[in-house]
């Protein structure tokens, strides 16, 4: 085990793998092993309860299985990081390894991964635009620029006119779109999406799918979906979980 840590401590994978996970959550009957290449969108499919949301939770750091290996690799041609910046390396037990140190659990907000949850929980005290700007601010974009980009993103999703509404007065599909915008706003390195299209209507679904295709083009992504069209349109590869 320790050996492996050393191996991956260098962090650059010649095979272009960006994200790799191997873990089991026996109490949920879930056991997964997968790898996603840089820029690739991997569709994660399977029946209800097969462990798709659980997998995303592990990747995002919300769930830390007893035995797990989650690795996020820097690009092969990465310039050396400025001193002080941590390598984004998650290992056994979802932990960050730095040479000579005891592994420490890396909390979700330090993983350079954003997750669109199956129940996305929009912040009730912020407007739709405020929710989207929240994602932007975490990436350091603030003020007028954040507002502008939030508005633009909501526009691309067809709900610019709702940007000043609170989540409580949005319809199910409108909320789903705000959540998509919020998750993608900050341009994250890795995106995990849990059934982003489930609440969309027949007309919008293809539009949103088109936008997602654009946004995910050269981004590493794991997409959970029950919709064959969505998988077809967005994913480079499908990984099926079975019960």
């Amino acid at each position: 085990m320790t050996m492996e840590h050393e191996d991956t401590a260098a962090g650059r994978r010649p095979d272009g793998v960006h994200l790799r996970a191997e873990f089991s959550v026996p109490e949920r009957g879930v056991s997964v092993s997968l790898a996603v290449r840089r820029g690739e969108t991997l569709a994660l499919t399977g029946p209800n309860g097969s462990g798709k949301s659980t997998t995303l939770a592990v990747l995002a750091g919300l769930l830390v299985p007893a035995h797990a290996r989650v690795e996020l690799h820097p690009p092969a041609d990465a310039t050396p990081r400025p001193a002080g910046e941590r390598p984004r390396l998650l290992t056994a037990s979802g932990a960050l390894l730095r040479e000579g140190e005891r592994p420490v659990a890396l909390p979700p907000h330090r993983r350079a991964i954003t997750l669109l949850m199956q129940e996305p929980r929009l912040f009730p005290h912020m407007t739709a635009a405020g929710n989207v700007a929240f994602g932007l601010r975490n990436a350091g974009i603030t003020g007028a620029e954040a507002r502008e980009r939030a508005h633009a993103l909501l526009g691309e999703l067809g709900i610019a006119h709702l940007s000043r509404m609170r989540p409580a007065s949005l319809s199910g599909g409108q909320k789903a779109r705000v959540a998509i915008a919020r998750a993608l706003a900050s341009d994250p390195e890795v995106v995990l999406l849990d059934e982003p299209g489930a609440a969309l209507d027949r007309q919008s679904a293809p539009l949103v799918r088109g936008l997602l295709a654009e946004l995910l083009a050269d981004r590493t992504c794991v997409l959970v979906s029950h919709s064959p069209e969505e998988v077809e349109a967005l994913a480079d590869r499908e990984h099926r979980l079975d019960e």
Binding site: E27, A57, L63, A66
Partner: protein, 295 residues
């Protein structure tokens, strides 16, 4: 006794864990010093008090008949007051949280008055109401009710000062809780009573437990209103705080010891109530919410 294996410190145990651990949002670490300071503000004076207790004679002091009589009376009256506070405080708290009516805001503020009134003034207010020359003297005489200098008067005084805390804590919980689950029950055909009994009450259980504990604690410590309204007679109206106050005049050691007895009962009751399964539910809920996101 055969010694068991030494219990491992937490961080080692967690290394060897076989179940997954959930990420639980916590408290920004910068706030921890403030939290610690808050705990110290409360704990240090209690330690100061404990340092004054002649622990050698502690048992002798607290098992004196006076102390035991007062203890019994205090436990009974505070429990009765807490029960009444829950019985009246849950409906009133729900009403304030869920209905709007003219004067709502003022009523909500008025409910806090017993907290603002110094307890002695609270006692005077009770006298001005239920006393022999009080507001309700005529109807009370007509019905032959005379609570002056009785244990009932003690419970009245304790209820008066404790009720606001029960109401506030229920109201806060009902508000925070929202009405989502009640709405879900209604569209499934459940009437207000069934909804109240099977949805609202169980979900509020932790808040009700908190309300009961707060009311009990406040009633247990009640001094001024009891003294002013009910008097101080051993076995009938002299609760532990009154006993402490008296003992202090002649025997500060005994006063300190009985204070510790009060502290001990409070700890016992609070720890017990919070260990009941239903009063931990909201705690679990917090955990489950975290889990939820892994679901």
């Amino acid at each position: 006794m055969i010694p068991g294996p030494p219990s491992a410190p937490t961080h080692i145990r967690s290394r060897a864990r076989t179940r997954s651990r959930e990420h639980r949002p916590g408290v920004p670490s910068a706030l921890l010093p403030l939290a610690a300071l808050g705990a110290l503000v409360i704990l240090v004076p209690v330690a100061g008090l404990a340092a004054r207790v002649p622990w050698g004679e502690f048992l002798a002091l607290i098992t004196r008949e006076d102390s035991l009589t007062a203890l019994r009376l205090s436990a009974q009256t505070a429990a009765a007051a807490a029960a009444i506070c829950v019985l009246l405080g849950v409906p009133l708290g729900m009403l304030l949280a869920r209905r709007s009516f003219p004067g709502h805001r003022v009523l909500r503020a008025l409910v806090l008055l017993p907290v603002v009134l110094p307890p002695v003034v609270g006692g005077l207010a009770l006298l001005a109401t239920f006393g022999r020359t009080g507001l309700l003297a005529t109807p009370m005489e007509a019905t032959g009710i005379d609570i002056a200098f009785t244990t009932t008067a003690v419970i009245c005084a304790q209820t008066f000062v404790s009720l606001p805390f029960a109401v506030m804590s229920v109201e806060g919980a009902v508000r925070t809780h929202g009405t989502d689950y009640e709405t879900a029950a209604a569209v499934l055909g459940a009437g207000p009573w069934r909804t109240f009994a099977t949805v609202t009450l169980p979900l509020l259980a932790p808040a009700i437990a908190s309300a009961a504990v707060l009311a009990f604690a406040r009633a247990l410590g009640e001094f001024g209103a009891t003294l002013t309204f009910a008097g101080s007679l051993a076995g009938t109206t002299r609760t532990l705080p009154l006993e402490i106050y008296l003992a202090r005049e002649t025997d500060p050691d005994a006063a300190a010891a009985i204070s510790m007895l009060l502290v001990a009962i409070a700890l016992l009751v609070v720890v017990t109530v919070y260990s009941l399964p239903q009063s931990r539910r909201s705690h679990d809920k917090g955990r489950q919410a975290a889990r939820d996101h892994g679901a």
